[in-house]
Symmetry: D2
Subunit: 157 residues, 4 copies
Protein backbone atom coordinates (compact mmCIF):
# COMPACT_ATOMS: atom_id res chain seq x y z
CA UNK A 1 0.00 0.00 0.00
CA UNK A 2 1.26 3.47 -0.79
CA UNK A 3 0.45 6.96 0.43
CA UNK A 4 -0.04 9.76 -2.07
CA UNK A 5 0.59 13.30 -0.85
CA UNK A 6 -0.09 16.26 -3.15
CA UNK A 7 2.65 18.85 -2.61
CA UNK A 8 2.46 22.44 -3.86
CA UNK A 9 5.56 23.74 -5.56
CA UNK A 10 6.67 27.31 -4.97
CA UNK A 11 7.95 29.40 -7.86
CA UNK A 12 11.07 30.06 -5.78
CA UNK A 13 11.86 26.34 -5.71
CA UNK A 14 13.32 26.94 -9.15
CA UNK A 15 16.90 28.08 -9.49
CA UNK A 16 18.59 30.15 -12.19
CA UNK A 17 18.47 27.14 -14.55
CA UNK A 18 14.66 27.42 -14.44
CA UNK A 19 14.16 23.98 -12.83
CA UNK A 20 13.27 22.98 -9.30
CA UNK A 21 16.71 22.97 -7.66
CA UNK A 22 18.27 19.63 -6.74
CA UNK A 23 18.31 20.55 -3.05
CA UNK A 24 14.71 21.72 -3.03
CA UNK A 25 13.62 18.35 -4.39
CA UNK A 26 14.54 16.97 -0.97
CA UNK A 27 12.37 19.66 0.58
CA UNK A 28 9.42 18.13 -1.27
CA UNK A 29 10.28 14.80 0.37
CA UNK A 30 10.35 16.41 3.82
CA UNK A 31 6.97 18.06 3.30
CA UNK A 32 5.36 14.79 2.24
CA UNK A 33 7.06 12.80 5.02
CA UNK A 34 5.77 15.16 7.70
CA UNK A 35 2.30 15.14 6.19
CA UNK A 36 2.25 11.34 6.07
CA UNK A 37 3.92 10.38 9.33
CA UNK A 38 3.31 13.11 11.87
CA UNK A 39 0.18 13.08 13.95
CA UNK A 40 -2.38 15.83 13.54
CA UNK A 41 -5.78 16.72 14.87
CA UNK A 42 -7.26 16.06 11.50
CA UNK A 43 -5.87 12.56 11.17
CA UNK A 44 -5.62 11.96 7.47
CA UNK A 45 -3.32 8.96 7.11
CA UNK A 46 -3.12 5.77 9.15
CA UNK A 47 0.63 6.25 9.22
CA UNK A 48 0.36 9.69 10.83
CA UNK A 49 1.02 8.81 14.44
CA UNK A 50 4.39 10.40 15.22
CA UNK A 51 4.29 13.25 17.69
CA UNK A 52 7.64 14.74 16.73
CA UNK A 53 7.07 18.44 17.21
CA UNK A 54 9.85 20.25 19.08
CA UNK A 55 9.10 19.67 22.78
CA UNK A 56 7.68 16.18 22.23
CA UNK A 57 9.24 13.04 23.80
CA UNK A 58 10.23 11.81 20.34
CA UNK A 59 12.24 13.57 17.66
CA UNK A 60 12.80 12.07 14.22
CA UNK A 61 16.35 12.40 12.92
CA UNK A 62 17.27 11.86 9.32
CA UNK A 63 20.24 9.48 9.22
CA UNK A 64 20.71 9.13 5.50
CA UNK A 65 19.14 10.05 2.18
CA UNK A 66 19.57 8.92 -1.37
CA UNK A 67 17.92 10.46 -4.40
CA UNK A 68 17.99 9.88 -8.14
CA UNK A 69 16.81 12.72 -10.38
CA UNK A 70 15.03 11.35 -13.43
CA UNK A 71 13.53 14.37 -15.21
CA UNK A 72 13.69 18.14 -14.69
CA UNK A 73 10.72 19.55 -12.81
CA UNK A 74 9.41 23.05 -13.43
CA UNK A 75 6.96 25.18 -11.47
CA UNK A 76 3.28 24.54 -12.06
CA UNK A 77 0.24 25.55 -10.04
CA UNK A 78 -1.13 22.07 -9.65
CA UNK A 79 0.56 20.03 -6.91
CA UNK A 80 2.93 17.20 -7.78
CA UNK A 81 2.32 13.85 -6.15
CA UNK A 82 4.83 12.46 -3.69
CA UNK A 83 4.17 8.75 -3.34
CA UNK A 84 5.51 7.20 -0.14
CA UNK A 85 5.96 3.67 1.11
CA UNK A 86 8.19 1.91 3.61
CA UNK A 87 11.22 -0.01 2.41
CA UNK A 88 12.21 -1.43 5.79
CA UNK A 89 11.19 -1.20 9.45
CA UNK A 90 14.23 -1.61 11.73
CA UNK A 91 14.55 -1.66 15.50
CA UNK A 92 14.65 2.11 15.91
CA UNK A 93 14.49 3.30 12.34
CA UNK A 94 12.37 3.39 9.23
CA UNK A 95 13.38 3.49 5.56
CA UNK A 96 10.90 5.69 3.73
CA UNK A 97 10.78 5.40 -0.06
CA UNK A 98 9.43 8.05 -2.45
CA UNK A 99 8.56 8.77 -6.03
CA UNK A 100 7.89 12.37 -7.07
CA UNK A 101 5.55 12.28 -10.05
CA UNK A 102 2.67 13.77 -11.98
CA UNK A 103 -0.87 12.86 -10.95
CA UNK A 104 -2.16 9.77 -12.72
CA UNK A 105 -4.69 12.01 -14.45
CA UNK A 106 -1.86 13.64 -16.44
CA UNK A 107 -1.49 12.42 -19.99
CA UNK A 108 1.98 10.86 -20.12
CA UNK A 109 2.75 11.21 -16.41
CA UNK A 110 6.44 11.69 -15.57
CA UNK A 111 8.43 10.46 -12.57
CA UNK A 112 10.81 13.26 -11.62
CA UNK A 113 12.77 11.57 -8.85
CA UNK A 114 12.94 8.50 -6.65
CA UNK A 115 14.48 8.60 -3.23
CA UNK A 116 14.79 7.05 0.21
CA UNK A 117 15.29 8.42 3.71
CA UNK A 118 16.33 6.57 6.84
CA UNK A 119 14.49 8.10 9.78
CA UNK A 120 15.60 7.34 13.35
CA UNK A 121 13.29 7.67 16.36
CA UNK A 122 15.17 9.60 19.03
CA UNK A 123 14.18 9.94 22.68
CA UNK A 124 14.50 13.69 23.21
CA UNK A 125 15.25 13.34 26.93
CA UNK A 126 18.28 11.10 26.47
CA UNK A 127 19.15 12.11 22.92
CA UNK A 128 19.56 8.45 21.98
CA UNK A 129 17.59 6.22 19.59
CA UNK A 130 14.48 4.56 21.03
CA UNK A 131 12.76 1.41 19.80
CA UNK A 132 9.84 1.58 17.41
CA UNK A 133 6.73 0.82 19.46
CA UNK A 134 4.20 -1.91 18.84
CA UNK A 135 1.59 0.71 17.96
CA UNK A 136 3.90 2.29 15.40
CA UNK A 137 4.78 -1.04 13.83
CA UNK A 138 1.10 -1.96 13.55
CA UNK A 139 0.31 1.35 11.88
CA UNK A 140 3.15 1.08 9.40
CA UNK A 141 3.47 -2.58 8.49
CA UNK A 142 0.79 -2.39 5.80
CA UNK A 143 2.87 0.13 3.87
CA UNK A 144 6.02 -1.99 3.62
CA UNK A 145 7.02 -2.72 0.04
CA UNK A 146 9.98 -3.31 -2.21
CA UNK A 147 12.67 -0.64 -1.56
CA UNK A 148 13.60 1.80 -4.33
CA UNK A 149 15.88 0.26 -6.90
CA UNK A 150 18.49 2.92 -7.60
CA UNK A 151 19.84 2.59 -11.10
CA UNK A 152 23.15 4.34 -10.96
CA UNK A 153 24.48 3.51 -7.53
CA UNK A 154 28.14 2.84 -7.93
CA UNK A 155 29.26 -0.22 -6.04
CA UNK A 156 32.24 0.41 -3.83
CA UNK A 157 34.00 -2.89 -4.30
Amino acid sequence: MRIEIPVHLRWSDMDAYGHVNNVDMLRLLEIARIEAFWASDSQQHHTGILDALPGSPTATYVARQEIEYLAPLTYRREPVIVELWIGHIGGASLDICYAIRDPHTTSQPTVYAQASTTLVMVDTASGTPRRITHVEREAWVGYVGEPVSFRHRRSRA
Copy 2:
Protein backbone atom coordinates in the same frame (compact mmCIF):
# COMPACT_ATOMS: atom_id res chain seq x y z
CA MET B 1 44.44 15.52 -3.16
CA ARG B 2 41.43 17.21 -1.63
CA ILE B 3 39.88 20.64 -1.84
CA GLU B 4 38.81 22.44 1.33
CA ILE B 5 36.09 25.05 0.98
CA PRO B 6 35.07 27.13 4.01
CA VAL B 7 31.28 27.61 3.90
CA HIS B 8 29.41 30.14 6.04
CA LEU B 9 26.29 28.85 7.74
CA ARG B 10 23.23 31.07 7.98
CA TRP B 11 21.22 31.15 11.17
CA SER B 12 18.15 30.33 9.08
CA ASP B 13 19.74 27.03 8.00
CA MET B 14 18.51 25.75 11.35
CA ASP B 15 15.00 24.39 11.65
CA ALA B 16 12.65 24.27 14.64
CA TYR B 17 14.74 21.46 16.15
CA GLY B 18 17.59 23.97 16.45
CA HIS B 19 19.91 22.06 14.07
CA VAL B 20 20.91 22.72 10.49
CA ASN B 21 18.04 21.07 8.61
CA ASN B 22 18.70 17.84 6.74
CA VAL B 23 17.81 19.45 3.42
CA ASP B 24 19.98 22.51 4.02
CA MET B 25 22.97 20.22 4.56
CA LEU B 26 22.77 19.51 0.83
CA ARG B 27 22.78 23.24 0.20
CA LEU B 28 26.20 23.36 1.85
CA LEU B 29 27.37 20.74 -0.65
CA GLU B 30 26.05 22.79 -3.57
CA ILE B 31 27.80 25.93 -2.35
CA ALA B 32 31.13 24.13 -2.02
CA ARG B 33 30.73 22.30 -5.36
CA ILE B 34 30.11 25.56 -7.23
CA GLU B 35 33.02 27.22 -5.48
CA ALA B 36 35.33 24.32 -6.32
CA PHE B 37 34.30 23.43 -9.87
CA TRP B 38 32.95 26.52 -11.57
CA ALA B 39 35.31 28.88 -13.31
CA SER B 40 35.74 32.40 -11.99
CA ASP B 41 37.82 35.45 -12.77
CA SER B 42 39.69 34.98 -9.55
CA GLN B 43 40.68 31.38 -10.24
CA GLN B 44 41.12 29.83 -6.84
CA HIS B 45 41.08 26.10 -7.45
CA HIS B 46 42.68 24.06 -10.24
CA THR B 47 39.40 22.22 -10.53
CA GLY B 48 37.42 25.42 -11.16
CA ILE B 49 37.13 25.27 -14.94
CA LEU B 50 33.42 24.67 -15.57
CA ASP B 51 31.59 27.53 -17.20
CA ALA B 52 28.11 26.42 -16.18
CA LEU B 53 26.31 29.70 -15.65
CA PRO B 54 22.86 29.91 -17.24
CA GLY B 55 23.48 30.82 -20.88
CA SER B 56 26.75 28.88 -21.13
CA PRO B 57 27.25 25.96 -23.55
CA THR B 58 27.49 23.55 -20.62
CA ALA B 59 25.06 23.02 -17.77
CA THR B 60 25.79 20.67 -14.89
CA TYR B 61 22.88 18.48 -13.87
CA VAL B 62 22.76 16.60 -10.61
CA ALA B 63 21.83 13.00 -11.39
CA ARG B 64 21.99 11.49 -7.93
CA GLN B 65 22.96 12.29 -4.37
CA GLU B 66 23.60 10.28 -1.26
CA ILE B 67 24.26 11.64 2.19
CA GLU B 68 24.86 10.24 5.63
CA TYR B 69 24.30 12.51 8.61
CA LEU B 70 26.82 11.78 11.35
CA ALA B 71 26.35 14.53 13.95
CA PRO B 72 23.92 17.43 14.42
CA LEU B 73 25.30 20.75 13.20
CA THR B 74 24.32 24.04 14.81
CA TYR B 75 24.83 27.61 13.68
CA ARG B 76 28.19 29.16 14.40
CA ARG B 77 29.85 32.27 12.96
CA GLU B 78 32.99 30.53 11.83
CA PRO B 79 32.61 28.66 8.53
CA VAL B 80 32.48 24.88 8.44
CA ILE B 81 34.84 23.10 6.07
CA VAL B 82 33.44 21.17 3.13
CA GLU B 83 36.17 18.84 1.93
CA LEU B 84 35.75 17.67 -1.67
CA TRP B 85 37.40 15.04 -3.82
CA ILE B 86 36.43 13.00 -6.87
CA GLY B 87 35.27 9.43 -6.45
CA HIS B 88 35.04 8.62 -10.16
CA ILE B 89 35.39 10.32 -13.54
CA GLY B 90 33.02 8.77 -16.09
CA GLY B 91 32.46 9.50 -19.76
CA ALA B 92 30.09 12.41 -19.22
CA SER B 93 29.83 12.51 -15.45
CA LEU B 94 31.74 13.05 -12.27
CA ASP B 95 31.18 11.60 -8.80
CA ILE B 96 31.99 14.28 -6.26
CA CYS B 97 32.59 13.17 -2.66
CA TYR B 98 32.30 15.38 0.41
CA ALA B 99 32.88 15.55 4.13
CA ILE B 100 31.34 18.43 6.11
CA ARG B 101 33.54 18.98 9.15
CA ASP B 102 35.08 21.36 11.64
CA PRO B 103 38.38 23.05 10.73
CA HIS B 104 41.40 21.00 11.78
CA THR B 105 42.23 23.80 14.23
CA THR B 106 39.16 22.85 16.30
CA SER B 107 39.87 20.79 19.38
CA GLN B 108 38.06 17.50 18.82
CA PRO B 109 36.93 18.26 15.26
CA THR B 110 33.64 16.62 14.25
CA VAL B 111 32.54 15.25 10.87
CA TYR B 112 28.87 16.21 10.46
CA ALA B 113 28.09 14.44 7.20
CA GLN B 114 29.60 12.57 4.29
CA ALA B 115 28.03 12.60 0.87
CA SER B 116 28.40 12.10 -2.84
CA THR B 117 26.88 13.74 -5.92
CA THR B 118 26.88 12.51 -9.50
CA LEU B 119 27.19 15.51 -11.79
CA VAL B 120 26.46 15.18 -15.50
CA MET B 121 27.85 17.56 -18.13
CA VAL B 122 24.95 18.60 -20.35
CA ASP B 123 25.23 20.38 -23.69
CA THR B 124 22.69 23.17 -23.28
CA ALA B 125 21.98 23.41 -27.02
CA SER B 126 20.94 19.76 -27.41
CA GLY B 127 19.95 19.12 -23.81
CA THR B 128 21.90 15.86 -23.86
CA PRO B 129 25.01 14.76 -21.96
CA ARG B 130 28.35 15.68 -23.52
CA ARG B 131 31.71 13.99 -22.98
CA ILE B 132 34.14 15.25 -20.38
CA THR B 133 36.90 17.03 -22.28
CA HIS B 134 40.60 16.31 -22.15
CA VAL B 135 41.20 19.63 -20.42
CA GLU B 136 38.62 18.82 -17.74
CA ARG B 137 40.05 15.37 -17.15
CA GLU B 138 43.55 16.78 -16.79
CA ALA B 139 42.34 19.36 -14.28
CA TRP B 140 40.46 16.83 -12.21
CA VAL B 141 42.47 13.62 -12.28
CA GLY B 142 44.73 14.68 -9.42
CA TYR B 143 41.72 14.86 -7.12
CA VAL B 144 40.49 11.32 -7.67
CA GLY B 145 40.44 9.28 -4.52
CA GLU B 146 38.62 6.49 -2.73
CA PRO B 147 34.83 7.07 -2.91
CA VAL B 148 32.87 7.67 0.29
CA SER B 149 32.19 4.49 2.19
CA PHE B 150 28.57 4.78 3.31
CA ARG B 151 28.02 2.82 6.49
CA HIS B 152 24.33 2.22 6.51
CA ARG B 153 23.45 1.67 2.89
CA ARG B 154 20.95 -1.12 2.81
CA SER B 155 21.74 -3.66 0.14
CA ARG B 156 18.77 -4.42 -2.04
CA ALA B 157 19.45 -8.06 -2.65
Copy 3:
Protein backbone atom coordinates in the same frame (compact mmCIF):
# COMPACT_ATOMS: atom_id res chain seq x y z
CA MET C 1 -13.11 43.28 -3.91
CA ARG C 2 -10.38 41.08 -2.50
CA ILE C 3 -8.71 37.86 -3.59
CA GLU C 4 -8.20 35.07 -1.08
CA ILE C 5 -5.38 32.63 -1.76
CA PRO C 6 -4.88 29.61 0.51
CA VAL C 7 -1.13 29.07 0.97
CA HIS C 8 0.39 25.90 2.44
CA LEU C 9 3.08 26.43 5.03
CA ARG C 10 6.12 24.17 5.08
CA TRP C 11 7.50 22.91 8.37
CA SER C 12 10.87 24.31 7.28
CA ASP C 13 9.40 27.82 7.13
CA MET C 14 9.93 27.85 10.88
CA ASP C 15 13.28 28.89 12.28
CA ALA C 16 15.02 27.90 15.51
CA TYR C 17 12.59 30.10 17.49
CA GLY C 18 9.80 27.74 16.34
CA HIS C 19 7.92 30.43 14.37
CA VAL C 20 7.64 31.07 10.66
CA ASN C 21 10.76 33.15 10.03
CA ASN C 22 10.35 36.86 9.30
CA VAL C 23 11.91 36.44 5.85
CA ASP C 24 9.77 33.45 4.95
CA MET C 25 6.64 35.51 5.66
CA LEU C 26 7.53 37.44 2.52
CA ARG C 27 7.78 34.14 0.67
CA LEU C 28 4.10 33.59 1.49
CA LEU C 29 3.35 36.94 -0.14
CA GLU C 30 5.26 35.96 -3.28
CA ILE C 31 3.42 32.66 -3.55
CA ALA C 32 0.02 34.35 -3.28
CA ARG C 33 0.99 37.18 -5.64
CA ILE C 34 2.06 34.75 -8.37
CA GLU C 35 -1.09 32.68 -7.87
CA ALA C 36 -3.29 35.77 -8.10
CA PHE C 37 -1.63 37.78 -10.86
CA TRP C 38 0.12 35.39 -13.21
CA ALA C 39 -1.77 33.84 -16.09
CA SER C 40 -2.32 30.10 -16.14
CA ASP C 41 -4.13 27.56 -18.28
CA SER C 42 -6.58 26.99 -15.49
CA GLN C 43 -7.54 30.62 -15.09
CA GLN C 44 -8.69 30.97 -11.52
CA HIS C 45 -8.67 34.68 -10.83
CA HIS C 46 -9.76 37.60 -13.00
CA THR C 47 -6.54 39.31 -12.02
CA GLY C 48 -4.39 36.46 -13.32
CA ILE C 49 -3.38 37.87 -16.68
CA LEU C 50 0.36 38.54 -16.36
CA ASP C 51 2.57 36.34 -18.50
CA ALA C 52 5.74 36.95 -16.53
CA LEU C 53 7.53 33.61 -16.81
CA PRO C 54 11.23 33.84 -17.69
CA GLY C 55 11.34 34.22 -21.48
CA SER C 56 8.11 36.24 -21.66
CA PRO C 57 8.01 39.82 -23.00
CA THR C 58 7.13 41.10 -19.53
CA ALA C 59 8.95 40.56 -16.26
CA THR C 60 7.60 41.80 -12.95
CA TYR C 61 10.19 43.42 -10.70
CA VAL C 62 9.61 44.07 -7.04
CA ALA C 63 10.56 47.70 -6.35
CA ARG C 64 9.71 47.93 -2.68
CA GLN C 65 8.07 46.00 0.14
CA GLU C 66 6.81 46.86 3.56
CA ILE C 67 5.55 44.41 6.15
CA GLU C 68 4.26 44.58 9.69
CA TYR C 69 4.33 41.41 11.77
CA LEU C 70 1.32 41.26 14.07
CA ALA C 71 1.37 37.77 15.63
CA PRO C 72 3.76 34.80 15.52
CA LEU C 73 2.75 32.14 13.00
CA THR C 74 3.52 28.48 13.55
CA TYR C 75 3.36 25.51 11.19
CA ARG C 76 -0.03 23.93 10.67
CA ARG C 77 -1.29 21.56 8.00
CA GLU C 78 -4.21 23.70 6.94
CA PRO C 79 -3.28 26.57 4.63
CA VAL C 80 -3.26 30.13 5.85
CA ILE C 81 -5.18 32.70 3.83
CA VAL C 82 -3.32 35.46 2.04
CA GLU C 83 -5.82 38.16 1.21
CA LEU C 84 -4.78 40.47 -1.63
CA TRP C 85 -6.07 43.74 -3.00
CA ILE C 86 -4.63 46.64 -4.96
CA GLY C 87 -3.70 49.83 -3.14
CA HIS C 88 -2.78 51.83 -6.23
CA ILE C 89 -2.43 51.39 -10.00
CA GLY C 90 0.33 53.64 -11.36
CA GLY C 91 1.60 54.19 -14.90
CA ALA C 92 3.91 51.18 -14.93
CA SER C 93 3.46 49.79 -11.46
CA LEU C 94 1.01 48.28 -9.05
CA ASP C 95 0.84 48.43 -5.26
CA ILE C 96 -0.36 45.08 -3.99
CA CYS C 97 -1.67 44.92 -0.41
CA TYR C 98 -1.87 41.79 1.73
CA ALA C 99 -3.15 40.39 4.97
CA ILE C 100 -1.91 36.95 6.12
CA ARG C 101 -4.62 35.47 8.31
CA ASP C 102 -6.54 32.44 9.49
CA PRO C 103 -9.54 31.28 7.46
CA HIS C 104 -12.77 32.97 8.54
CA THR C 105 -13.97 29.54 9.69
CA THR C 106 -11.38 29.61 12.51
CA SER C 107 -12.75 30.52 15.91
CA GLN C 108 -10.98 33.75 16.84
CA PRO C 109 -9.15 34.21 13.53
CA THR C 110 -5.77 35.96 13.80
CA VAL C 111 -4.10 38.36 11.37
CA TYR C 112 -0.39 37.47 11.35
CA ALA C 113 0.94 40.21 9.10
CA GLN C 114 -0.04 43.02 6.78
CA ALA C 115 2.14 44.09 3.90
CA SER C 116 2.47 45.83 0.58
CA THR C 117 4.59 45.31 -2.52
CA THR C 118 5.22 47.68 -5.40
CA LEU C 119 5.47 45.65 -8.59
CA VAL C 120 6.88 47.20 -11.77
CA MET C 121 6.10 45.90 -15.25
CA VAL C 122 9.38 45.59 -17.11
CA ASP C 123 9.82 45.04 -20.84
CA THR C 124 12.31 42.19 -20.93
CA ALA C 125 13.74 43.21 -24.32
CA SER C 126 14.70 46.72 -23.26
CA GLY C 127 14.96 46.08 -19.51
CA THR C 128 12.96 49.25 -18.84
CA PRO C 129 9.50 49.75 -17.29
CA ARG C 130 6.55 49.52 -19.66
CA ARG C 131 3.10 51.03 -19.22
CA ILE C 132 0.25 49.05 -17.74
CA THR C 133 -2.02 48.09 -20.63
CA HIS C 134 -5.70 48.87 -20.95
CA VAL C 135 -6.52 45.16 -20.59
CA GLU C 136 -4.53 44.93 -17.36
CA ARG C 137 -6.15 48.03 -15.91
CA GLU C 138 -9.62 46.69 -16.73
CA ALA C 139 -8.83 43.38 -15.06
CA TRP C 140 -7.45 44.99 -11.93
CA VAL C 141 -9.52 48.11 -11.30
CA GLY C 142 -12.24 46.21 -9.46
CA TYR C 143 -9.73 45.15 -6.82
CA VAL C 144 -8.52 48.63 -5.90
CA GLY C 145 -9.13 49.48 -2.27
CA GLU C 146 -7.77 51.44 0.65
CA PRO C 147 -3.98 50.80 1.00
CA VAL C 148 -2.66 49.10 4.12
CA SER C 149 -2.46 51.43 7.09
CA PHE C 150 0.88 50.64 8.71
CA ARG C 151 0.78 51.38 12.39
CA HIS C 152 4.39 51.81 13.33
CA ARG C 153 5.90 53.54 10.35
CA ARG C 154 8.27 56.12 11.70
CA SER C 155 7.94 59.42 9.94
CA ARG C 156 11.23 60.76 8.68
CA ALA C 157 10.57 64.42 9.33
Copy 4:
Protein backbone atom coordinates in the same frame (compact mmCIF):
# COMPACT_ATOMS: atom_id res chain seq x y z
CA MET D 1 29.43 55.26 12.71
CA ARG D 2 28.43 52.33 10.56
CA ILE D 3 29.11 48.60 10.65
CA GLU D 4 30.17 46.81 7.47
CA ILE D 5 29.42 43.09 7.27
CA PRO D 6 30.63 41.07 4.28
CA VAL D 7 27.90 38.54 3.37
CA HIS D 8 28.45 35.59 1.04
CA LEU D 9 25.76 35.04 -1.56
CA ARG D 10 24.68 31.53 -2.45
CA TRP D 11 24.05 30.60 -6.06
CA SER D 12 20.62 29.37 -4.95
CA ASP D 13 19.72 32.88 -3.77
CA MET D 14 18.94 33.54 -7.42
CA ASP D 15 15.54 32.70 -8.79
CA ALA D 16 14.46 31.73 -12.31
CA TYR D 17 14.92 35.35 -13.43
CA GLY D 18 18.64 34.93 -12.71
CA HIS D 19 18.72 37.59 -9.96
CA VAL D 20 18.88 37.30 -6.21
CA ASN D 21 15.21 36.88 -5.35
CA ASN D 22 13.38 39.74 -3.65
CA VAL D 23 12.69 37.62 -0.57
CA ASP D 24 16.26 36.39 -0.28
CA MET D 25 17.45 39.99 -0.19
CA LEU D 26 15.86 40.15 3.27
CA ARG D 27 17.81 37.03 4.19
CA LEU D 28 20.99 39.00 3.57
CA LEU D 29 19.73 41.59 6.05
CA GLU D 30 19.05 38.91 8.67
CA ILE D 31 22.54 37.42 8.25
CA ALA D 32 24.20 40.80 8.70
CA ARG D 33 21.95 41.79 11.62
CA ILE D 34 22.78 38.60 13.54
CA GLU D 35 26.47 39.01 12.80
CA ALA D 36 26.41 42.63 13.99
CA PHE D 37 24.12 42.47 17.03
CA TRP D 38 24.33 39.02 18.55
CA ALA D 39 27.02 38.25 21.08
CA SER D 40 29.70 35.71 20.24
CA ASP D 41 32.83 34.31 21.83
CA SER D 42 34.89 36.03 19.20
CA GLN D 43 33.49 39.48 19.84
CA GLN D 44 33.88 41.32 16.56
CA HIS D 45 31.59 44.32 16.84
CA HIS D 46 30.92 46.63 19.77
CA THR D 47 27.25 46.28 18.96
CA GLY D 48 27.33 42.50 19.30
CA ILE D 49 25.98 42.12 22.81
CA LEU D 50 22.57 40.50 22.37
CA ASP D 51 22.30 36.96 23.67
CA ALA D 52 19.23 36.01 21.66
CA LEU D 53 19.83 32.35 20.92
CA PRO D 54 16.82 30.10 21.52
CA GLY D 55 16.82 29.35 25.25
CA SER D 56 18.20 32.77 26.22
CA PRO D 57 16.27 35.24 28.42
CA THR D 58 15.91 37.61 25.47
CA ALA D 59 14.51 36.94 22.03
CA THR D 60 14.55 39.54 19.26
CA TYR D 61 11.32 39.79 17.29
CA VAL D 62 11.08 41.54 13.98
CA ALA D 63 8.10 43.92 14.15
CA ARG D 64 8.33 45.53 10.74
CA GLN D 65 10.53 45.74 7.67
CA GLU D 66 10.74 48.02 4.71
CA ILE D 67 12.99 47.57 1.70
CA GLU D 68 13.62 49.36 -1.56
CA TYR D 69 15.27 47.43 -4.37
CA LEU D 70 17.58 49.70 -6.37
CA ALA D 71 19.46 47.40 -8.76
CA PRO D 72 19.34 43.68 -9.61
CA LEU D 73 21.95 41.63 -7.78
CA THR D 74 23.48 38.50 -9.29
CA TYR D 75 25.56 35.76 -7.76
CA ARG D 76 29.26 36.43 -7.40
CA ARG D 77 31.91 34.70 -5.30
CA GLU D 78 33.06 37.78 -3.48
CA PRO D 79 30.80 38.83 -0.60
CA VAL D 80 28.55 41.86 -0.87
CA ILE D 81 28.74 44.43 1.89
CA VAL D 82 25.76 44.98 4.15
CA GLU D 83 26.22 48.33 5.85
CA LEU D 84 24.25 48.74 9.08
CA TRP D 85 23.47 51.66 11.34
CA ILE D 86 20.74 52.54 13.84
CA GLY D 87 17.93 54.85 12.80
CA HIS D 88 16.28 55.07 16.21
CA ILE D 89 16.59 53.58 19.71
CA GLY D 90 13.17 53.27 21.36
CA GLY D 91 12.12 52.06 24.80
CA ALA D 92 12.06 48.37 23.87
CA SER D 93 12.96 48.47 20.20
CA LEU D 94 15.64 49.38 17.72
CA ASP D 95 15.34 50.55 14.11
CA ILE D 96 18.18 49.03 12.14
CA CYS D 97 19.01 50.58 8.76
CA TYR D 98 20.86 48.86 5.92
CA ALA D 99 22.43 49.37 2.55
CA ILE D 100 23.39 46.32 0.49
CA ARG D 101 26.26 47.35 -1.78
CA ASP D 102 29.49 46.49 -3.52
CA PRO D 103 32.75 46.88 -1.60
CA HIS D 104 34.24 50.35 -1.94
CA THR D 105 37.15 48.74 -3.79
CA THR D 106 34.80 47.97 -6.72
CA SER D 107 35.06 50.32 -9.64
CA GLN D 108 31.63 51.97 -9.90
CA PRO D 109 30.17 50.39 -6.74
CA THR D 110 26.41 49.79 -6.83
CA VAL D 111 23.86 50.02 -4.03
CA TYR D 112 21.42 47.13 -4.56
CA ALA D 113 18.92 47.84 -1.81
CA GLN D 114 18.25 50.00 1.22
CA ALA D 115 16.09 48.78 4.07
CA SER D 116 15.09 49.08 7.69
CA THR D 117 13.97 46.63 10.37
CA THR D 118 12.28 47.34 13.69
CA LEU D 119 13.59 44.84 16.22
CA VAL D 120 11.81 44.37 19.55
CA MET D 121 13.50 42.97 22.66
CA VAL D 122 11.21 40.30 24.10
CA ASP D 123 11.52 38.70 27.52
CA THR D 124 11.23 35.00 26.67
CA ALA D 125 9.77 34.09 30.07
CA SER D 126 6.82 36.46 29.84
CA GLY D 127 6.67 36.75 26.06
CA THR D 128 6.35 40.53 26.38
CA PRO D 129 8.66 43.36 25.32
CA ARG D 130 11.36 44.33 27.80
CA ARG D 131 13.19 47.66 28.05
CA ILE D 132 16.51 48.22 26.35
CA THR D 133 19.15 48.14 29.08
CA HIS D 134 21.66 50.83 29.90
CA VAL D 135 24.48 48.58 28.70
CA GLU D 136 22.75 48.03 25.36
CA ARG D 137 22.07 51.72 24.88
CA GLU D 138 25.71 52.56 25.62
CA ALA D 139 26.90 49.98 23.10
CA TRP D 140 24.58 51.19 20.39
CA VAL D 141 24.32 54.95 20.73
CA GLY D 142 27.46 55.59 18.71
CA TYR D 143 25.85 53.95 15.69
CA VAL D 144 22.74 56.11 15.58
CA GLY D 145 22.41 58.06 12.35
CA GLU D 146 19.93 59.48 9.90
CA PRO D 147 17.23 56.83 9.08
CA VAL D 148 16.93 55.52 5.54
CA SER D 149 15.13 57.92 3.24
CA PHE D 150 12.79 55.75 1.20
CA ARG D 151 12.13 57.32 -2.14
CA HIS D 152 8.90 55.75 -3.24
CA ARG D 153 6.92 55.39 -0.04
CA ARG D 154 3.37 56.28 -0.88
CA SER D 155 1.80 58.56 1.67
CA ARG D 156 -1.52 57.31 2.91
CA ALA D 157 -3.21 60.66 3.29
